[in-house]
């Protein structure tokens, strides 16, 4: 055995190592072990030739922190490396990452096919704001794979969805929907905020652009707003005439053809050169640094998030005050098998459950828990709860609420990494309070 020739194996760094090191070279930064915070707006040019070269994208480098910043750049490379992407562009929030993605891809007169189960802010963007820019969207339920195909029109420029819909936990069949997109010559964009690359790398399942609100699990600490778009590098922009601003000499950037010059990084290059220049939702270096601190422990945290979530699923499923529990780990969840395939490292820490007693019970529960925080966020290391019908989705009318997969008794739980017994004890307090109004009204 010992004389058997050693098999060649690539020794590129793996996930946990990349979480700590990718995108940063200490020897180019005064040996500083931690990533320095480049708290600056602008960068010296060597001479006029150097200045012109930077503006013409002849050389790499920084000009002005709205376009790029060295600290933010480390974050971008780090997330690109973790996702298996070619390039990334960080933004001031998850919403600006989504907006910038769409604005880089589309122009007035274009159309998108969009999953109907999305974060409430994203629904508003697609339903009400993008039409103001002449971009129309058709919404399709995430499980209706065929529906995505049927909704594609001549002017459709992409498909957008969240892998696990929020907050109904419906999973879109990403490999199938990617195939539908690619057969139509358009890219699939996936908001993978809830998964992080630890749970799922959408590029491995056919996605072309991945978006994160880094505000959530990626950072974990709940201290900083941030977003990012990541490019897979596989999509061939030149296969058809649908994306002239990517493939033809583009007036918007000195006659540059992004696809010809930058190939697998063309989308990010355009999003930065045009989008950051014209819209400007740049991430502050301090916030980029804060997010980097979180990413260092991403896999350790995600393991605990997922194990705590599975414990909570068991606890809630057996609880007398709970009418139903939705989480992809529940065997009778309609997407249980698909979740196993797409989320092999854990099914995430978002749980939705119905509280017996409907809306009043929900309100009582939320108002009485002490450890779980009632707030409009998800993916904090601390446990968070909200009642969507009266919180995040409160601007929606009854019909839209139903279409988004919501109900009045639904509580959305983002399981933190506290001691599991403390979370359960806290929920007991909430459930006790929730049972009271029901007892009263039943008499």
């Amino acid at each position: 055995m010992s004389d058997k020739k050693k098999e060649l194996k690539p020794n590129t760094y793996k996930f946990d190592t990349l979480s700590l090191h990718a995108g940063y070279q200490p020897h180019k930064n005064a040996g500083s072990r931690q990533v320095p915070i480049y708290q600056t707006t602008s960068y010296l040019f060597d001479d006029v030739d150097h200045a012109a070269a930077l503006f013409n994208l002849e050389r790499g480098g920084h000009i002005y922190s709205r376009i790029s910043n060295p600290t933010v750049g480390v974050l971008e490379e780090r997330v690109a490396s973790l996702e298996g992407g070619t390039a990334a562009l960080a933004t001031s929030s998850g919403m600006s990452a989504i907006f910038l993605t769409i604005m880089t891809l589309c122009e007035a007169g274009d159309h998108l096919v969009v999953s109907s189960q999305l974060y409430g802010g994203t629904v508003n963007l697609f339903r009400l704001t993008l039409p103001k820019f002449g971009i129309q969207c058709t919404f399709v339920k995430p499980r209706d794979t065929e529906g995505f195909k049927k909704a594609i029109q001549k002017n459709t420029k992409g498909i957008f969805g969240e892998l696990v819909g929020n907050p109904g936990n419906e999973i879109m069949n990403m490999p199938e929907i990617a195939k539908i997109a690619h057969d139509a010559g358009i890219p699939l964009m996936v908001d993978a905020t809830y998964q992080t690359p630890y749970l799922c790398k959408p590029f491995e399942h056919g996605a072309d652009i991945v978006i994160h609100s880094l505000t959530k699990w990626m950072a974990g600490h709940g201290s900083s707003m941030a977003g990012i778009l990541v490019e897979g590098g596989k999509f061939d922009w030149m296969q058809n005439d649908k994306f002239p601003t990517m493939t033809k000499p583009y007036e918007g950037y000195h006659g540059l053809s992004f696809a010809e010059e930058f190939g697998p990084t063309a989308f990010t290059m355009k999003a930065r050169a045009e989008g950051m220049r014209d819209f400007g939702p740049c991430l502050s270096p301090q916030n980029a640094w804060n997010v980097l601190q979180g990413i260092e422990t991403l896999s350790v945290r995600m393991k605990k998030h997922c194990s705590n979530a599975e414990e909570m699923v068991k606890y809630l499923s057996n609880h007398e005050s709970v009418a139903w529990v939705s989480h992809p780990s529940v065997p009778d969840h309609p997407d249980h098998e698909l979740a196993k395939k797409l989320l092999p490292n854990g099914r995430g820490s978002m749980i939705a459950f119905g509280i017996k007693g409907g809306k009043d019970a929900g309100v009582a529960f939320i108002n009485n828990v002490k450890l779980a925080s009632h707030l409009a966020n998800v993916g904090d290391t601390r446990t968070l709860v909200i009642h969507p019908a009266s919180g995040t989705h409160s601007q929606m009318d009854e019909a839209t609420l139903k279409f988004a997969g919501l109900s009045h008794d639904m509580i959305r739980l983002s399981v933190g990494i506290e001691d599991i017994d403390d979370i359960k004890n806290d929920f007991e307090i909430g459930f006790r309070a929730a049972r009271k109004p029901r007892l009263v009204s039943n008499q």
């Binding site: 060649l8 490396s81 897979g232 000195h254 053809s257 697998p264």
Partner: protein, 272 residues
């Protein structure tokens, strides 16, 4: 731009400026399994400073049609055909890795046409690891993963791309996987492995020559690059610390600075 060589359509990036017959020509030749995009941080500069910078996709690679050429000698003749096809009488050549074998061979065959030669990560011969060669010929994506591992120095493995937001290893991987691996990398590796004429060809080269080598280059180590350079009369050598085989991206700025000085001195641009 697109043009025809031997009835096949060839794609070459012109670095963001239209091709202009009056300007001197520099042809950039990529390495095994790669494309014109590896040169983006050199070509755009020359294109904006008085040259036609033509980063070609070899036949069957990137955006060029046709089948991959099977030997370094054929590729060398093809580069000469490119000069004719774009209507020029002479050119400067820049090669990376396999592109060095090609440009060395081309310069030795057409000495009257080639005005300067710049070699990055070059060697007189590039014998392939048999297992890597077999993986590439069998269309195994592991061949690309191994190449990306060996092609980047320890620093490049961490990232630190000169263009903000780009990640070296994944970008290189996507370039090398953009066409069928066995038809690009597989054919190229075999051509490198078969090529034995590098040292003899080098001895015939008389034009100004520059070699840029990198201390952490595992694919064409400094020692091999120096051996090649020592056979070329008066050739200059520049060695980059802390850098691997992908120096044209890993240390793009340094490479451009050295290349700019060498080419503008020995093959001046059309002054504007």
């Amino acid at each position: 731009m697109k043009f025809k060589v031997n009835n096949n359509e060839v794609f070459a990036s012109t670095g963001g400026r239209p091709f202009d017959k009056k300007k001197p020509l520099i042809i950039f030749v990529h390495g095994s399994g790669l494309t014109h995009m590896t040169w983006v941080l050199q070509t755009r500069y020359f294109a904006f400073h008085g040259y036609n910078a033509l980063a070609v996709d070899l036949p069957g690679h990137g955006l060029s049609s046709g089948e991959s050429l099977k030997s370094i000698e054929e590729m060398a003749d093809w580069v000469n055909d490119v000069i004719d096809a774009v209507g020029h009488k002479e050119a400067s050549l820049v090669g990376h890795s396999q592109g060095c074998l090609v440009t060395v061979e081309c310069t030795s065959r057409y000495p009257e046409k080639i005005k300067t030669l710049s070699l990055m990560g070059g060697a007189g011969a590039i014998p392939m690891n048999p297992e890597l060669l077999s993986l590439a010929e069998n269309n195994d994506p592991k061949a690309v993963d191994l190449m990306m591992d060996w092609a980047h120095g320890p620093a490049g493995h961490f990232g630190g791309h000169p263009v903000p937001g780009l990640y070296h290893i994944n970008t290189g991987t996507m370039l090398a996987k953009s066409r069928t691996i066995q038809n690009t990398l597989g054919v190229d590796f075999r051509a490198c492995d078969n090529y034995k004429n590098g040292f003899d060809a080098a001895k015939k080269i008389k034009c100004p020559t520059l070699s840029i080598l990198a201390t952490d280059d595992k694919m064409c180590p400094v020692k091999e690059g120096k051996k090649l350079a020592s056979l070329i009369d008066g050739s200059q050598v520049d060695i980059i610390d802390n850098c691997g085989h992908m120096m044209l991206l890993e240390e793009a700025d340094r490479v451009l600075t050295v290349l700019k000085k060498f080419i503008t001195t020995n093959y001046p641009p059309l002054s504007s």
